[in-house]
């Protein structure tokens, strides 16, 4: 027969395993914690895919911005395209106040441009190189992924997957409020 301490060891092991399984079931795999959150945004430099205007982490310092990674091959990117455009129209008209930046990756210029035309994107759009220089620097898993960067150049929030209207409102309001407080 089992002795009392042997019973408790078995019970403890079963409880531990059950707790781990339960934790795994209740954790949203899309809420991937990025080591970049709270840290300075990785250095990047890209060119607008239509005008060739350069932009990068250095030139954006002082302006809060939303950095969205997308691809014409990405189905979820279609769903959030109108939200990003709406955010640009609402807050991004003054590029010194706020910017929406979209970087397509693993894509061709023609496909990315066609996608942008189809979904009426008018904000800043660039294409990462074939080596994935920018996406590897940002530790990307897939598309869409969005980073919210504050006016000091620090990553404040990262979203894996399509954004919602509420998330954009919440994060952009927070970034703008902090930027307006700056001395």
């Amino acid at each position: 027969m089992f002795k009392i301490w042997q019973f408790w060891i078995v019970m403890l092991a079963i409880t531990g395993m059950t707790a781990m399984f339960a934790y795994g079931f209740f954790v949203d795999p899309k809420l991937v914690k990025s080591p970049l959150v709270g840290k300075p945004v990785p250095s990047f430099s890209v060119q607008e895919m239509n005008t060739g205007e350069p932009i990068g982490s250095a030139s954006l310092k002082g302006t809060p911005y939303m950095l969205n990674f997308w691809g014409s091959w990405c189905f979820a990117c279609q769903g959030e395209a109108h939200l990003l455009e709406a955010a640009h129209r609402k807050w991004g008209q003054d590029p010194k106040r706020f910017r929406v930046v979209g970087i397509a990756f693993n894509d061709t210029l023609e496909s990315a441009r066609a996608f942008a035309r189809r979904f009426g994107k008018t904000y800043y759009l660039a294409l990462d190189d074939a080596q994935g220089t920018v996406i590897l620097n940002f530790g990307l898993y897939g598309a869409p992924e969005t980073f919210f960067v504050d006016h000091t150049g620090r990553v404040r929030y990262k979203k894996v997957g399509a954004l919602t209207q509420e998330e954009i409102e919440e994060q952009v309001t927070l970034l703008l409020r902090e930027a307006e407080k700056k001395p």
Partner: protein, 183 residues
């Protein structure tokens, strides 16, 4: 104080012998040798052959998890992101970066998750030790149980052979007699 013409060296017994020029030549020679040595050392680090670069990058790619796959290393995956990571590893190796620096780069972007084997420190050390510890405890428990049973058997007095009662003996004798009579 009178100084030697042109040279600015202290005048006197040594003013005719430009000892400081010799010192300067020695210093310049040493500096040149240091630069040459540094260049040669760097050349050794970067001067890896194509095979060595490939071998080292394969080793490191095998230690990194493919971000878009299930339980597959970057080395074993054909996913576009895994190929880009592998190429980046190869470029970093060719630039002379150490395996530690390359792993640190990917950890800073993706978190500890990107490493297929957890670090042997902090919580990672617990993960390394736990299976061995569980095995030891289980083996100990089983051994303890078996030893306990063995001791119990050895210590217990032999079970007495049950003896027949008079009634049973009489019954057997009667049955035997019946069978003999039937024959």
């Amino acid at each position: 104080m009178r100084r030697g013409l042109e040279t600015g060296a202290p005048a006197g017994r040594l003013s005719g012998f430009p000892w400081w020029k010799t010192a300067r030549r020695i210093a310049l020679g040493m500096a040149a040798a240091s630069v040459l040595l540094a260049a040669l050392t760097a050349g050794q680090a970067w001067g890896l052959s194509e095979d060595e670069i490939e071998q080292k990058s394969l080793l490191i790619a095998g230690q990194l998890r493919c971000p878009t796959c299930q339980g597959v290393s970057v080395k074993d995956s054909n996913a576009p992101l895994a190929r880009q990571i592998h190429d980046k590893v190869r470029r970093m190796v060719a630039e002379g970066q150490s395996g530690e620096a390359i792993r640190a780069f990917f950890v800073s972007r993706y978190g500890e998750w990107i490493l297929r084997a957890p670090k042997k420190e902090g919580l990672g050390l617990v993960l390394w030790l736990l299976p061995g510890l569980a095995l030891l405890v289980s083996a100990g428990l089983i051994g303890y149980r078996l030893l306990g049973n063995h001791r119990q058997r050895m210590a217990a007095p032999p079970e007495p052979i049950p003896t027949l009662t008079d009634a049973q003996r009489a019954r057997i004798a009667s049955d035997v007699k019946t069978f003999e009579e039937q024959d």
